[in-house]
């Protein structure tokens, strides 16, 4: 009896010790896999979108497909542009625009239109990425500078990450049979270049840069605008920031 009591006491104290509890808790929340924003001096990439500036020319989509060998078929996108039309009766219709888009209805001539705008979308490179949390083999991961990538050599193609992404940013690449998505053009930014979509945007709708940099287009964008992110309630902490985002956008 005494032995059992001693054992129990020992067992409970081990459980209560910080090590055991910390160890158990560490595997549970998504936060455990997410890196907190690193100290100044280290890069932590983010992305800005000025909704008001987008003209829906779809050059970003074209540039992205060319740069990253994304399949041409209209079912696979690392970035896309949505057109919102809210009519005076309160009904909003949304469409993903393509390169051969018919011209948008003119708000000036179509009097039923209340407001209309374009919203570019891409992977939000979340600070607490749900996709990284659920990947069973660790094939999708967050880099030190805050970009979520997929290792196509270890991805088993279970598509759990595709299910877990709240933004529809991922697809299964039909050739590699692995998950694929926007990388912020990691091969370009690691050489100091801009992502292809940012490079080609004629209206500077898209801004890219280090969130830790004191003076950069990115930090200026964050300073000069009222900022919102997509689906903040899911606590994924996106690093794609939108200026002048309409409440209809999800």
């Amino acid at each position: 009896m005494n032995g059992r009591r001693t054992f129990l006491r020992g067992f409970v104290s081990v459980l209560l010790s910080g090590g055991a509890i910390g160890g158990i808790l560490k595997i549970l929340p998504a936060k455990a896999d997410a890196r907190e924003a690193p100290p100044k001096g280290q890069k932590w990439y983010g992305f800005g979108v000025s909704v008001d500036k987008c003209i829906g020319c779809a050059r970003c989509m074209e540039a992205c497909k060319n740069e990253n060998n994304v399949p041409r078929e209209p079912f696979f996108f690392r970035t896309w542009v949505e057109r919102y039309i809210t009519r005076k009766n309160g009904v909003t219709t949304v469409k993903a625009i393509g390169p051969n888009e018919e011209p948008s209805p003119e708000a000036a001539s179509d009097k039923s239109i209340l407001r209309s705008f374009f919203v570019p979308k891409l992977c939000n490179q979340c600070a607490s990425p749900a996709c990284v949390q659920v990947c069973p083999v660790g094939a999708t991961f967050q880099t030190k500078d805050g970009v979520v990538l997929v290792n196509e050599k270890t991805c088993i193609g279970c598509r759990y990450c595709i299910q877990a992404c709240p933004y529809g940013a991922r697809y299964l690449h039909p050739v590699t049979r692995t998950a694929d998505k926007c990388t912020f053009c990691y091969h370009r930014i690691s050489h100091g270049l801009l992502p292809a979509c940012v490079e080609v945007c004629p209206t500077q709708t898209r801004i890219f840069g280090d969130l830790n940099a004191a003076a950069s287009p990115m930090s200026r964008f964050l300073r000069m605008n009222k900022i919102h992110v997509l689906k903040p309630g899911l606590n994924t902490e996106p690093k794609v920031y939108y200026a002048s985002l309409d409440g209809e956008v999800r």
Binding site: D33, T93, V137, G168
Partner: protein
């Protein structure tokens, strides 16, 4: 790139309603992932039925004991096949076992599965059959003798102490086994329930609903197998046993139905931002599979049928054939109902856009790995495995024996 696949996606384009994110047109978890939770559900349910005999001492269902253990094993062996087959890279499946990421619910599959197969099911089956295998081997010659001796791990002790140890081990394994069976299927529910991006899945109730629907499907399937196999092997169906098993099935269906009802009421009452698109999906895309098959044919009709046998017990009691027929229809309907439940969870969860603005469609293929034919083969495979298992570990003697009565009050007292 597979041009046929692209063609299929193109065909889906006109069927999209409203707006979906452009990457969402492909339903990523198809029929195979419907089959997977259905199969693991049967495993968990069959095991729970077996534990009724061992832990709760329900003597009436003794004829189902070995049959349900073997059924659980047959289905458990097939469960990972559906999973591996659906992977983009099936040849890399071992990565999930060698380098699992601890934060992933899916990565735990290997451990949960291995634990359940090795530590629970195989051990229990071994201890149940050990003395029998020794006895069989003594009377046999040739291959069967070799098989039974090897499976018994060359143990030969049938003395009193050894048998007592078997019984004690069985008790422990079953007691460990019940939470393990709960874990196995509750865990499958958690894989879906923990996806916060998907409001159709994301619910604390999902693992529990999965669990009870698992118990329902497992018990119903074992009853069905018992009612089919017993006459085929020259035995007589024990109505005492079937009545009792149907009793448990009845309560399990009621609990399952109530849980799903609670989930439904909760969603409708809370009426969050996704409610519009979800109700549109239920009324358009899932009407047949959810309202008609899952709820009406899979639950309400069987519940009514079984209730009738209870309400008009005197009439049904006299006519065993009538009762058999009613039970038979009920358990078959329940199988379809539970399969539809899995369908509605898995496919339904991917039919609406995460923009909550539109619906896509699932077009089932016929051939190929993701096709109907392959899934039917997967669903038939456990029956084949079960046939083989019953050749090696025949449960006939137990199945054909009339159970002793009392028992029920033993559990109560």
């Amino acid at each position: 790139m597979n041009p046929e696949f692209i063609h299929t996606l193109r065909e889906l384009l006109p069927q999209i309603q409203g707006y979906i994110y452009p990457n969402e047109i492909e339903i990523h978890w198809g029929l195979l992932i419907v089959v997977y939770p259905y199969i693991t559900g049967v495993v968990a349910g069959a095991f729970i039925l077996a534990s009724l005999v061992k832990v709760f001492n329900v003597k009436e269902v003794q004829p189902l004991y070995r049959l349900s253990l073997l059924t659980a094993l047959a289905y458990l062996l097939v469960a990972p096949m559906a999973l591996v087959a659906h992977l983009g890279h099936p040849e890399r499946f071992y990565e999930i076992l060698l380098t699992p990421q601890t934060s992933s619910a899916m990565a735990m599959f290997g451990f949960v599965y291995a634990w359940y197969l090795m530590a629970v099911l195989l051990l229990e089956i071994w201890f149940v059959h050990r003395t029998d295998m020794i006895a069989w081997a003594e009377q046999e010659t040739g291959v069967m003798r070799f098989i039974h001796r090897t499976l018994a791990l060359y143990s030969s002790d049938t003395g009193e102490r050894a048998v007592a140890f078997d019984h004690k081990a069985l008790k422990v394994i079953t007691i460990v086994g019940i939470p393990s069976a709960f874990l196995l299927h509750g865990y499958v529910g958690f894989i879906f329930g923990s996806i916060k991006a998907n409001p159709w899945w994301s619910s604390v109730l999902i693992p529990i609903v999965f669990l009870f629907s698992a118990i329902v499907s497992g018990i119903a399937l074992v009853i069905l197998l018992y009612m089919v196999i017993t006459p085929l092997t020259g035995g007589k169906i024990s109505m005492k046993c079937v009545d009792k098993a149907v009793d448990f099935l009845f309560y399990a269906v009621i609990v399952d139905f109530s849980l799903e009802l609670v989930d439904f009421i909760h969603r409708v009452y809370q009426s969050e931002e996704e409610i519009k698109i979800l109700s549109e999906m239920v009324m358009n895309k899932l009407f047949a599979s959810l309202i008609i098959i899952q709820v009406l044919l899979g639950m309400l009709v069987p519940l009514t049928l079984i209730s009738l046998t209870k309400i008009f017990w005197r009439r049904f009691h006299l006519n065993e054939d009538l009762r058999k027929m009613v039970y038979f229809i009920a358990v078959i309907l329940i199988q379809f109902g539970i399969f539809a439940t899995r369908w509605n969870v898995v496919i339904g969860g991917q039919m609406f856009s995460k923009s909550f603005r539109g619906l896509t469609t699932y077009k089932m293929e016929f051939g190929g790995i993701e096709g109907l034919l392959f899934s039917i083969a997967l669903l038939a495979l456990p029956i084949v495995i079960l046939a083989v298992l019953t050749k090696i570990l025949p449960p006939w003697q137990e199945m054909h024996a009339e159970p002793v009565s009392e028992g029920a009050e033993v559990a109560g007292s």
